[in-house]
Amino acid sequence: MSDKKLKLGLYWAAGCGGCDVAVLDIDEKILDVAEVADIHFWPIAMDFKYKDVAAMDDGFLDVCFLNGAIRNSENKEVAELLRAKSKVLVALGTCACYGGVIGLANFCTREEILETAFKKTVSTDNPEGIIPQPVSEVDGCELHIPEVYEAVYKLDDFVNVDYYLPGCPPRAELIAKAIDAIVAGQLPEPGSVLLPAKTVCDECKREKKDRHVDEFKRPWELIPDEEKCLLDQGLVCMGPATRAGCGAACTNVNMPCRGCYGPAEGVIDQGAKAMSAVAVTAVSTNLAEMEKVISQVKDPAGTFYMYGLPNSLLRGRQMKEAK
């Protein structure tokens, strides 16, 4: 390792900020980080301006952790900027990796979302029905705000990503481990996901047995048996189709996995795979009965693509009206 300190950048695009908090959650480990690294950009923690970044030489930053999806022109601009300035770009968190929860926006058009957000909610007070525009005139001056894109994108739709560390948010120890690996220069092949290759089922302690579901239930409809597999109990659990790394955090507390760590290694469409696995647990030779049971899963697309719609084969709802 070089005696020079690692130059680190962190950025938060379209996301909830939980990933930044997860970085803070590494606790005292941050001191170790401070020992080996200088943070050159981290808007949530320190005051930086984009021009500071623009002023850096290309490849100035050794590593940049970028969380959040790309939802507007600002996200994209900064992502491109940081890409240029970073030797290694890590997509941190599921939004950056796969679009994340906010990717569910891809079931709607931009117009539908803006209408809802600025006009239709009960708490909205917008009598003139103004929807923010990228460019507007205020007192004779032109005011620019970032343009909201038609869809939510994952980071690698626009820039080359070296490593992926999904999770909503990624567990602090995984972040710490990634930093350790970077410091030690022990990173795997570029393009890799910095997680175990297995899935949540591998980490989940519950006993899997029947693999046959007579009735699908919502989590509030039962108090699940703590020993038995949740899927066997009729709860739609994404565990079989979700990358390991979380330590089965949800199933440990009696909640089914919702798939936040993204697809298993090499899987192209997490939702389709999960759906296929869950559907067949209801197989019987009575077609009508099967239909009845399977129809109990009310919102398959929302369920199976909760964290990865922009990363799916179709990326979202196909908008017929789009021209």
Binding site: K198, T199, C201, D202, R211, A244, E265, I268, A277, T285
Partner: protein, 650 residues
């Protein structure tokens, strides 16, 4: 793979079959521009020798290492072209076929559209073939012993035939004696020859042949392995009698003080002792102690049998013993059981003394049975009129939807015996008379002339009025409602799957059909096979069957088993499922999906493991594997997705 991909594409004219509708030259020209394509040709007949030679020459001279032939259906010539590749050292699975005859030229009117579709299919094959992996057919060694589960007539026949083929065979029978249901019968239709006379010689032969091993009073506990290599654990239940020491003298039976146990084998028409042989011609003709009813076991006192035994064969300390044996094939011949008519209170079984089942009547008319062949009412008198009710539990969606097949003719036989023994009025209540077998209709005709009253109408209900049993029915031929007074009612109870069918299906990993019987691989063409290679079926465990059919199936199943084990090796298709242990999350979704139980769970590694010898390569597991760990060779996700891209490329 570092080797450069060089694809040879061959577009077949199939004379004019393809060329009439597809511009083959244009397709070849199109193919030549696709990625990785080294040569692209069109030719008159690719499957003929010159066509095959063309491919061989290109492989040898141009270093072609992937072959795409656009011609007829792969269901036709895929093996042909695989062999062509293999003949010059190229793995047969580096070959892909585009079906431009059945799916294009023969079903399309428009030449332009046909050519375009042919291009799309060729593009798909060209896109897919670089992703294909070399696959190899493999062979596993084969054990040549055969296990027969069930020692009824079907199982006996199967065992004797296998043994006749000079192969070792083991019969596992859960009862203390082989013989099955046939041993309980008096006469057999349509010839009315005595059941015991034709069965017992076969039973004895089973005991005498050197290469037939009998495990009576035993059950199959566990089956591991796959075709050619089954390892079977057999539970020998504690008989409490040492078969080697016992001479079958029967002294113990005569001295046993517990004499009031309902005799199951005699359909509870009489009683037996706690140490007993089920019937006089039992094989082995050695007793067994019914521990539940034996005073020694229930009270700790008695032991008379042990005291009187001249050879010291009674062994109260005996315990269940587990033996493990290896087999190449398994024949299931577990037979059937009789429907319990007390389920339907309308028939009065269990309610009226003189309502009995067909098998009880069968025992009654049997000269060695509990009444020494006399038909007697509970009060010891001979009945003056007997009703025989067909279809009890059969052809009835409340019980069994199917026809039990043999009961019509059996009912005719019983009607005949009833008439012969009592010379009273005998009524036969039937829905349809189904006498399907050779000589059965003639038998029916014969029985009719004996003056039996045939009433077409289901014996719907048996009631008692003033001490008189009445059978209620609608005589559908006369269009009249009737209440026929009789002294005795015989219920032709349905043939139904034995109670342990479900458990055995799980143990053997074979399927059952909706009616509960074991399911054959194909109802017409594979009636004796199961979906699990190496496990065969015969007799009434597959569905209701009479003796001739059971015997024929027994011999047939033996032939299936002999044909399998005589090959010496099992061929294993290379199209199978494979599990990538590094990716498998151990979710176990795939395990239930496999109809062949080819997938098991490795507790230690926490991953799914495919037994390739059991796997048939359907790929259903891959279709629902949430991690992509389970792949279907030659039909991987990547290959199929690329093929989809390919068909949409044009």
């Amino acid at each position: 793979m570092s080797e450069e991909i060089k694809i040879g594409v061959y577009v077949c004219h199939c004379g004019s079959n393809i060329a009439d509708k597809v511009d083959c030259a244009a397709v070849a020209e199109f193919a030549s521009k696709l990625p990785n394509v080294t040569v692209a040709r069109d030719f008159q007949y690719m499957c003929a020798d010159p066509g095959q030679e063309l491919i061989r020459k290109d492989i040898k001279e141009q270093g072609i290492n992937r072959v795409v032939v656009a011609s007829c259906s792969p269901r036709m010539h895929e093996p042909t072209f695989r062999k062509v590749c293999e003949s010059v050292g190229l793995n047969g699975y580096f070959f892909e076929m585009a079906n431009i005859r059945e799916h294009v030229s023969w079903c399309t009117e428009d030449r332009e559209a046909a050519t375009e579709k042919a291009k799309a299919l060729v593009a798909a094959a060209v896109a897919r073939v670089p992703l294909q992996e070399p696959l190899y057919e493999r062979y596993a060694d084969m054990n040549d012993r055969v296990l027969v589960i069930g020692g009824g007539i079907a199982g006996i026949e199967a065992a004797l035939k296998v043994s006749g083929g000079n192969k070792e065979v083991v019969i596992v029978e859960k009862e203390p004696s082989i013989g099955g249901t046939m041993a309980k019968l008096d006469k057999t239709f349509p010839t009315l020859d005595c059941s015991a006379c034709i069965l017992t010689p076969k039973m004895v032969e089973c005991a005498q042949r050197d290469n037939v091993k009998l495990y009576t009073y035993s059950e199959v506990e566990k089956v591991d392995g796959y075709v050619g290599n089954f390892t079977v654990t057999i539970r020998k239940k504690a008989r409490s009698v040492d078969l080697d020491k016992c001479t079958g003298c029967g002294l113990c039976i005569t001295k046993c003080p517990t004499k009031d146990i309902p005799h199951e084998w005699e359909e509870n028409l009489t009683t037996r002792t706690a140490i007993f042989t089920p019937f006089p011609q039992a094989v082995p003709n050695k007793p067994v102690i019914d521990r539940e009813n034996c005073r020694y076991f229930t009270t700790g006192k008695c032991g008379i049998c042990a005291k009187v035994c001249p050879t010291d064969a009674v062994d109260f300390e005996q315990e269940d013993e587990l033996v493990t044996e290896d087999f190449g094939a398994i024949i299931v011949a577990t037979g059937f059981e009789l429907f319990d008519p007390s389920v339907g209170p309308q028939w009065g079984f269990g309610k009226f003394d003189n309502v009995i089942t067909s098998l009880q009547f069968e025992r009654m008319v049997n000269a060695s049975g509990p009444t020494k062949g006399k038909v007697l009412l509970k009060n010891g008198e001979e009945p003056k009129s007997i009703a025989i009710l067909h279809c009890i539990g059969s052809r009835d969606e409340n019980y069994h939807e199917y026809c039990s097949r043999f009961c019509c003719t059996a009912a005719l036989k019983l009607a005949h015996l009833a008439k012969e023994k009592t010379n009273g009025d005998v009524y036969s209540f039937y829905i349809d008379m189904r006498t399907f077998g050779k000589g059965y209709e003639e038998f029916y005709n014969r029985i009719m002339s004996e003056g039996i009253h045939f009433i077409r109408g289901k014996g719907t209900e048996v009631v008692e009025r003033k001490g008189q049993l009445l059978v209620r029915t609608e005589d559908t031929l006369l269009g009249k409602y009737r209440e026929v007074p009789v002294d005795m009612v015989v219920l032709m109870a349905a043939c139904q799957p034995g109670q342990d069918t479900e458990k055995l299906a799980q143990t053997l990993a074979i399927q059952r059909s909706a009616d509960g019987f074991f399911l054959e691989a194909h109802p017409k063409l594979e009636p004796l096979k199961t979906a699990t290679d190496g496990i065969f079926l015969c007799g009434a465990c597959q569905g209701p069957k009479d003796i001739p059919d059971s015997v024929a199936q027994g011999a047939g199943a033996a032939s299936e088993a002999l044909s399998l084990i005589s090959a010496g090796k099992v061929k294993i298709s290379p199209i199978v499922a494979r599990c990538d242990e590094d990716k498998c999350g151990g979710c176990m979704i795939c395990i239930n999906l496999c109809p062949y139980t080819a997938i098991s769970y490795d507790e230690e590694k926490k991953v799914a493991v495919v037994n390739e010898a059991k796997c048939k390569g359907c790929g259903t597991c891959s279709g629902s594997c949430p991690t992509g760990a389970m792949t279907n060779t030659n039909f991987t996700d990547e290959q199929i997705m690329t093929q989809i891209e390919g068909v949409l490329a044009v």
